[in-house]
Amino acid sequence: MLRHLIDPLDLSKEEVISLLDLADDIKQHPENYREKARYKKLATLFYEPSTRTRLSFEAAMLNLGGSVLGFSDSSQSSATKGESIADTIRVISAYADICAMRHPKEGAPLRASHYSRIPVINAGDGGHQHPTQTLTDLMTIREREGRLSDLTIGVCGDLKFGRTVHSLIKSIIRFPNIRLVLISPEELRVPDYITEDELKAKNIPFTEVRSLDDAMAKLDILYMTRVQRERFFNEEDYVRLKNSYILTTDKLRPAKETLAVLHPLPRVNEITLAVDNDPRAAYFEQAENGVYVRMALIIFLLGL
């Protein structure tokens, strides 16, 4: 049966665990997977540039012995000539075996999946979802902490538009005894559809705080995100808020020894360079893990 990954919840909890097990095995024994997707093609349909995510997908497919094709900016593609998503995906279905789509509009990959004859992976749609980043985050959390349950997870920064945060929250709360600490300015709070439908409806303990310092000591995971300039209507608000949520070695002092600091990357200045040398920094591992989970996902969706 044709499967897509549009929303992180398209995968059951059991499927997530088996994907992470597969990703762990790929990381340990990459040589066993070198020919796994031989003669298969991945199309990367990037309607907005995101070099890091695209390269991670392409590396994943190349590591599996497959090949890649695609576009990485809608100004060079048929999208700007007004072709609909539905038409584009029908055509791409004839060229490739699987595709990863990045689009500035929310719901574009879902729309594509309704017309596609090949698996569609959502590689980020507007401020909405980013499920492969979530799998990467889960793999890194499990690798660092040895479990996906009984964790106090702090998410910090832009929680309103930060799609990685929304996807992570929806996924991790399926595991038992998860406590969330939502750390953001008032203007960038988690949207109501997450707090109401997900957290309150499912009785997940959570607190909303305005300061990183208040939360630090109790955290097992600290998930940092970038506060982006383009999310603000005026420069003043941006300048006022951008520096309030910067992680420094000083702020890390009260934190647990076992804390893991995650960040979807690229960072600008929200984590100072000195933190990179702290053993609790896990974000470069996380970037590496992104390739392994995408390899596992390609194997799973192609039924290899």
Partner: protein, 141 residues
Amino acid sequence: MLYIDSIQNGLVIDHIQAGTSMRIYHLLKLDRLDCGVAIIKNVRSEKYGRKDIIKIEGEIDLNLDILGYLDPNITIVVIKDGNVAEKKSLTLPKTLTNVIRCNNPRCITSAEEGIDHIFSLSEKGCYRCIYCDEEFHPSRS
């Protein structure tokens, strides 16, 4: 009162909020039906003060889900051989297709023509766009 017995076979859409029957007439596309339709406006009701009623003569198959969303007080009476055969209350439909529109400027529905605006009922009892998860607020549309 009403001349329900004037219909032999058909439907009575009762307890419509007074003044809204024409909107329902158009939403159900009753103007395209090849049968008798009576719109009775602003009649006195024991329960609601004033109400509208629509009576449709003939055996028809209408998608009435939309009514549950528009006005949950509405009741449907099915008339067979001049008698009340069935009374139905309405429930909120699981999905609404092209009934309401997504107003999120970041949503794919705002960027491409011809996409159905589809909303699904959330656990909390509100409607969210299936593309962007934006909640529909009746007051803002």
